[in-house]
């Protein structure tokens, strides 16, 4: 039997495999060379880009929790000028799709950044980070359907690049936000960003992170993220890219079956440099074992418990 086809197409962009690097977990794409080559991924999503350089929050910025990690980095980044000058060329000739995560303190900033990135050929899609929890007002864009839609609309006007809206899970009904983004012209939804969390030092009674709360990632949030992805895929007709504690081939398969068109690996990239290679190899092995020739035959095949088992 031939090697299964791992490629997926999202908004007209073909990815050689459905495993992407999540924003904030793989720098600007080339820093982990040669330990983790960007070519392993179907695509890499950059750290969120803002207009200005940002130095980020004071330390400590991370705290470990059971099977999870709370971060409060604060969108540290080089700013758009240095990004275009140094970081985009670093990925030229590298066989992976480049998705730029775009941030903004205002709708106008999102639009200005998107307009500048529109003319950069190397950039295959934009992921709108309307859900960063660690800056003032950061999360508001994706907790309010009207603001989320307005952001997508404003960006839509200035770029022809495919737009992915990255959603926060910290809402009662994520489908409402997803539908608003879809209606405004988003081509895909990235779900989910981190869950709001906090941890305190019980010896001192003090908060550990200077801002108190941060965003929880890692295996701890995987089942929570999966439920959000499922809610979205049942309520929108654009592709959903699954994110949240995905670390192994088994996790990738779980999100694809649930209906994610692709997935992003995040926190695991801090831990295990070999995880992306193993996940892709394991996914191919899973398809092969089940006699599937394409990963698309797996996407959205979720069955109810009473529908009879599809698997052995």
């Amino acid at each position: 039997m031939s090697v299964p086809d791992l490629s997926v197409t999202i908004a007209g962009v073909r990815f050689k495999n459905p495993i992407l690097a999540a924003s904030g977990c793989f720098g600007y794409g080339s820093e982990m060379e040669p330990l983790v080559p960007a070519e392993l991924f179907g695509g890499v999503v950059t750290k969120t880009i803002l207009e200005a350089r940002r130095s980020g929050n004071a330390a400590p910025r991370i705290v470990e929790t059971p099977s999870g990690l709370i971060n409060s980095i604060g969108l540290e980044g080089v700013g758009i000028d240095r990004y275009l000058e140094e970081k985009v060329p670093a990925l030229s000739g590298v066989d992976t799709r480049l998705i730029v995560s775009v941030g903004g303190h205002s709708i106008e900033e999102f639009a200005r950044l998107a307009a500048r990135l529109d003319s950069v050929d190397r950039v295959d899609a934009l992921e709108l980070n309307i859900s960063c929890p660690n800056v003032d007002g950061g999360t508001d864009f994706s907790t309010d359907p009207e603001l989320a839609a307005a952001t997508v609309t404003a960006v839509r006007r200035v770029t022809g690049k495919p737009l992915w809206a990255k959603l926060t899970p910290n809402v009662t009904r994520i489908a409402v936000i997803g539908q608003a983004c879809e209606k405004a012209g988003a081509h895909a939804l990235s779900a989910v960003n981190t869950f709001t969390g906090m941890s305190i030092d019980t010896n001192t009674g003090r908060m550990i992170l200077p801002r108190g709360m941060g965003g929880v990632s890692g295996p701890a949030i995987r089942p929570l993220a999966l439920a959000k992805v499922w809610e979205l895929v049942r309520n929108v007709s654009i592709p959903v890219i699954g994110i949240g504690g995905i670390a192994t081939a088994r996790d990738v398969v779980e999100f694809l079956i649930t209906g994610a068109a692709a997935v992003q690996l995040g926190t695991v990239l801090y831990i295990d440099p070999d995880a992306p290679r193993r996940a892709a190899a394991g996914l191919a092995g899973h398809l092969h074992e089940r006699g599937l020739t394409s990963v698309n035959q797996l996407v959205g095949t979720l069955a109810r418990r009473d529908e009879g088992r599809q698997h052995r």
């Binding site: 904030g24 977990c25 793989f26 720098g27 080339s30 820093e31 982990m32 060379e33 330990l35 130095s55 980020g56 929050n57 004071a58 330390a59 400590p60 910025r61 991370i62 705290v63 470990e64 059971p66 099977s67 999870g68 990690l69 971060n71 980095i73 540290e76 890692g218 295996p219 926190t267 990239l269 801090y270 831990i271 295990d272 440099p273 070999d274």
Partner: protein, 268 residues
């Protein structure tokens, strides 16, 4: 700053695990020959659990590194202080640990100046490696080493007697006091002609750095900060930078910094 050149992801096989004192361990591991020669002050990231708890790898400073019979070996020294070190202490000879290294920026020894090493407690680890590398090139290499009590004196036997400048909190070995007390009592002429290389608790590092800055003596310190990745990607281990209003990353810009690079008054 990007990934340390030569860093690899490998399996480290435990060769020897010895509890030198209750709660303190010396660990010897074998790694593939492709493991790069570490600079003193560099570290390894060890993945201690396959079950996501603790989730993050843990950094350990390298005490010694050697090659023999086509393999490479590194030695670590640690005290059991939390979930990670509790798990590490359970590894037995023959068992494997996921390992990435060598990582970080180590000490940049100035061959044209005398050197004084300043260690506090478990911070002695990377300085023992520095000592072993530098001692043969120098007529003397004063090693200031402060720790709680005589029973916790790790590696003292690796330091030539003439170089030992010891202090313990309880006076059971060397003088009663701290490493800083000993440092301050060294001859002014020696201090002026030397570079200080320090590792240990943050309070010791800050005081050593300020001591050096006041006197115009070059000083390098190895800092610690909670981080996830160890390679500069997660941006978790922010250390306030003196040169601008931003931060340096402890894991990839350091962990060794010059005293001038750090905005000490802004340290958390």
């Amino acid at each position: 700053m990007a990934l340390s050149p030569g860093a690899i992801d490998c399996r480290a096989t435990v060769v020897e695990q010895i509890e030198t004192q209750p709660g303190f361990f010396r660990l010897l591991c074998r790694v593939p020959a492709t493991f790069a020669d570490p600079v003193p002050g560099q570290f390894v990231q060890l993945r201690l659990s396959e079950r996501n708890d603790p989730l993050l790898p843990r950094p350990y400073g390298i005490v010694d590194f050697r090659r023999a019979g086509g393999d490479a070996f590194f030695e670590l020294y640690y005290g059991v202080v939390g979930a990670g070190t509790r798990l590490l202490a359970r590894f037995r000879p023959g068992e494997e640990i996921g390992c990435v290294g060598p990582l970080g920026r180590g000490y940049a020894v100035d061959p044209n100046r005398e050197a004084i090493l300043v260690a506090g407690g478990r911070g002695v680890a990377p300085l023992l490696m520095l000592y072993a590398a530098e001692r043969p090139r120098r007529p003397r290499l004063p090693f200031v080493y402060g720790f709680r009590t005589a029973a916790l004196a790790f590696g003292v036997e690796r330091i030539d007697e003439a170089d030992r400048h010891l202090a313990t909190d309880d006076g059971t070995l060397g003088r009663r006091g701290t490493a800083l007390d000993v440092l301050a009592d060294l001859p002014e002429s020696l201090l002026r002609g030397s570079t200080l290389y320090a590792c240990g608790p943050e309070i010791l590092l800050e005081k050593t750095a300020l001591f050096a800055l006041e006197r115009g003596i070059p000083c390098q310190v190895s800092l610690e900060a909670p981080f996830a990745c160890g390679v500069g990607i997660c941006r978790g281990c922010a250390v306030p930078a003196a040169a601008h209003d931003g931060y340096l990353m402890c894991c990839s810009d350091g962990p060794v910094f010059t005293a001038e690079e750090i905005r000490w008054e802004a340290m958390p």
